[in-house]
């Protein structure tokens, strides 16, 4: 056992750190740091910078544009990117669909879609959840009936993140209503421009516009857009969800947020002293830092174990990462709320728009409460924390 990073790993970390320092566009870095909404162009321009450097899809196999990095390097890369802070490449393509296509797609699909995912030529969104199928995803009802060389899709998806920007949606659809619920599901790629696709925005509690309902009304989808085999979609979905779960821990994001809170607490005054001199507040920060360090070590253990796993199946221990990671991210938003004090309250209209009026209160405070509200989602999506605990109880504890 040697728990330190090797000199090579440290050199690697320094290299990626320098790259992020030099390459993240200032507007993107600032929005990330201030918890402001990123525009579509922000995601696209940044991912293209990454892609140009060959780092948009580091975890893909080398033949499809991966870097061949070790799991530790992958981890360091992600950690540095989050601390930059920079957004990750679009998850729906790079982390969700990409690996599914690589594992289960056909040559033509891989050759067509993978490069476009890497360079974000197509914006993908995830069409899994339905009004009646959330945690019980396998009960989904959106149907796809074969009609010649097309599937005809009818139904509704919901909570679809950033579908308003999407060119394509990958969907779980029911192709065999007779079979046991997990066995009649297929994985279908649908062009959002198809006739019969309607997107309706859902406003979140913080006023944000990031989720949508997506309706399918006799949408014709060429059979060549089926991934893998018909009625085997559930296997691919489980594979995808395992990958999604791992990505939610976001240790580097919490590090960056805590660092920022500590910086702001040096400026934000409580009477005659800066907030950072309030021992009780510092203790609460320290409390979160302890949990975060433990999570980081746990994550590194999962990463190390990955090296020796042959089956490529997600480690059920990754559910621990999802649970703790989401709780810590949420706890950090509570620290920010405390720091903002009464100035967490103002909600000026359109806080994101550039205006000449000076901010109300500290210039960072307007996003604090909305972020606290919004980040309640982290313990809900990607398999709710209750579902993660069910997974652990079953897969690890045998209960």
């Amino acid at each position: 056992m040697d728990l330190r990073f090797t000199p090579e790993e440290i050199a690697f970390r320094d290299e990626v750190r320098a790259f992020f320092k030099a390459s993240v566009p200032e507007v993107v870095r600032r929005k990330m740091s201030e918890s402001r909404h990123l525009a579509k162009e922000d995601f696209v321009s940044w991912q293209r910078i990454l892609h140009k450097r060959g780092w948009a899809t580091p975890h893909w196999p080398v033949e499809w544009g991966g870097t061949g990095w070790s799991p530790t390097q992958q981890y360091l890369f992600m950690d540095e990117m989050q601390q930059a802070p920079a957004p990750p490449p679009l998850q729906f393509g790079v982390n969700m669909l990409g690996p599914v296509l690589i594992a289960f797609g056909n040559e033509k699909q891989k050759r067509h879609f993978l490069p476009r995912i890497a360079n974000i030529e197509d914006w993908w969104c995830q069409g899994f959840s339905e009004p009646g199928a959330g945690s019980d995803l396998a009960s989904l009802r959106t149907s796809a009936k074969l009609d010649g060389d097309h599937y005809v899709v009818n139904g509704q998806k919901t909570w679809t993140t950033l579908a308003q920007y999407a060119d394509w949606i990958f969907c779980l659809v029911r192709t065999n209503p007779e079979a046991k619920k997990q066995e009649g599901i297929s994985f279908l790629l649908i062009d959002m421009k198809s006739k019969g696709v309607t997107v309706r925005p859902i406003v979140t509690i913080d006023g944000g516009r990031e989720i949508n309902e997506v309706f399918f009304d006799d949408v014709r989808v060429p059979v060549e857009n089926l991934v893998g085999e018909e009625n085997k979609g559930w296997d691919y979905a489980k594979f995808l969800l395992g990958n999604e779960r791992v990505g939610i821990a976001r240790v580097g994001v919490s590090k960056e947020r805590i660092r920022r809170i500590k910086q702001l607490a040096k400026m934000e005054r409580d009477g005659d002293r800066p907030m950072i001199e309030d021992e009780r507040f510092r203790e609460r920060i320290a409390e979160v830092e302890v949990a975060l360090k433990a999570l980081e070590m746990t994550q590194l253990r999962v990463v190390a174990a990955e090296r020796s796993r042959k089956d490529k199946k997600p480690d059920p221990a990754s559910s621990i990462l999802k649970i703790k990671g989401s709780e810590i991210q949420q706890a950090v938003t509570e620290l920010a709320l405390e720091l903002a004090g009464p100035y967490a309250m103002p909600a000026p209209d359109e806080p994101d728009e550039g205006s000449n009026e000076p901010p109300i209160g500290p210039d960072w405070a307007d996003t604090v409460a909305p972020t606290y509200f919004n980040w309640r989602k982290i313990s809900i999506y990607g398999g709710s924390n209750e579902i993660q605990k069910n997974i652990i109880a079953k897969a690890i504890l045998g209960l």
Binding site: D270, G271, P346, G361, A369, I380
Partner: protein, 382 residues
């Protein structure tokens, strides 16, 4: 000890409950947010009709002479309805200052107008550097002949945008955090030199940043003894905390009821999600938190008229800790147990969660009051 409401109190509770069911439903509330003031003048008139606006004032000044229990009943109902109206600002805060610091003449002049709904008030007190320290006042009032001149900035003044008259705290003498040397002034919201920057708050209510620059005030603008206003301010903030505790109970109760209802109706895995024991226990924990908060809201109500300021303020700190803790748990779990639906603006629970979060922030969150309480000898006498 008697935890039951009297007949009149029960009547108040029932009639206000009915009024809000008819005129203050969640859907109506969301419409009221878009009215010019961000709240409903029509509803305000109905409150006046019911006597709510004169509730805590003495009868001889035109009030109803009711006590803290009536205020608790009203605030809990406002919490349940997520009311937008400036009851806290006008009746509890500014009204409280008039009750405790006003002269007979001021009370006789102002209370009838508060009670009939024609006068909206706000308490312009907080300043950015002060955070939650009540004595921290940089705004100054300087003697000017028989009157005064007011200069300074007040932040997050609840309903300061729609108030006709502001009650402004200002420093007459001493250092910024001195307990001595603070005065209260009645200031016309539209007086020359008063600049208001209104905005909505994240819980859907309204507030304003207010600047006073060389605002000239007459001698009659003074409320209470100049320089000796802090005790009245502390008392009124204690009353506001007791009121918020009651409001938060209404807010939490609705979130809890909605969650239990959802657990009974939402189906996943071929059954209602309420059949999963982990969610049953969570709903039980929410109930425990709610009941602990309700008990502390009652404790606050009992203690709010305590003349011993130290005892009173300890009780309010304790209540604020409990409602902060309970409210955070109940709110977060209400969202969590609703899944995606809980995250939507269209559904009511998120709005209750936001109000609950801001109730915790108002006059200092749980952590602030815990620190305050820890500096005293505590609640269990040694």
């Amino acid at each position: 000890m008697d935890f039951d409401l009297s007949e009149e109190q029960q009547l108040l509770k029932d009639s206000l409950g009915r009024l809000l069911a008819d005129h203050g439903s969640f859907a109506q509330r969301q419409k009221h947010r878009n009215e010019p003031d961000g709240w409903s003048r029509a509803l305000w008139a109905l409150y006046a009709e019911l006597g709510l606006l004169g509730l805590p004032f003495e009868e001889k000044h035109g009030g109803l002479g009711a006590g803290p229990v009536e205020t608790m009943v009203a605030m809990e109902a406002f919490g349940r309805a997520l009311a937008l109206e400036p009851y806290l600002a006008t009746v509890i805060l500014a009204g409280g200052l008039i009750r405790h610091a006003g002269s007979e003449a001021q009370k006789s002049a102002l209370v009838p107008k508060i009670a009939d709904g024609s006068l909206i008030l706000a308490f312009a007190h907080g300043e950015r550097q002060a955070r939650y320290e009540l004595a921290d006042i940089a705004t100054t009032a300087k003697k000017d002949g028989a009157g005064w001149v007011l200069d300074g900035e007040k932040g997050v003044v609840l309903h300061g945008d729609s108030a006709d008259t502001l009650i402004v705290s200002a420093r007459l003498s001493g250092q910024r955090r001195d307990r001595d040397g603070i005065g209260l002034f009645l200031v016309d919201g539209n007086a020359s030199g008063v600049t208001r920057r209104p905005y909505p708050t994240v819980d859907g209510l309204r507030a304003a940043e207010i600047t006073f620059s060389s605002v000239k005030l007459g001698a009659d603008a003074v409320l209470g003894t100049p320089g000796k206003a802090l005790p009245a301010i502390e008392r009124v903030v204690d009353e506001a905390i007791a009121a918020l505790a009651a409001e938060s109970v209404g807010v939490m109760a609705v979130m809890h009821e909605a969650t239990v209802e959802y657990l009974k109706t939402r189906r996943q895995f071929g059954t209602t999600i309420g059949s999963f024991q982990v969610l049953q226990h969570r709903a039980v924990d929410m109930l425990v938190a709610l009941e602990q908060a309700r008990s502390m809201a009652m404790f606050a109500t009992m203690m709010v008229s305590e003349e011993n300021a130290a005892e009173r303020s300890k009780a309010m700190a304790a209540a604020k800790v409990q409602i902060g803790r309970s409210g955070k748990f109940v709110g977060q779990q209400a969202i969590q147990l609703h899944g995606g639906i809980g995250m939507t603006n269209e559904y009511s629970v998120g709005h209750y969660f936001k109000r609950m979060t801001m109730i915790d922030t108002l006059f200092g969150p749980a952590e602030h009051h815990l620190a305050r309480l820890a500096k005293t000898d505590g609640l269990v006498e040694s």
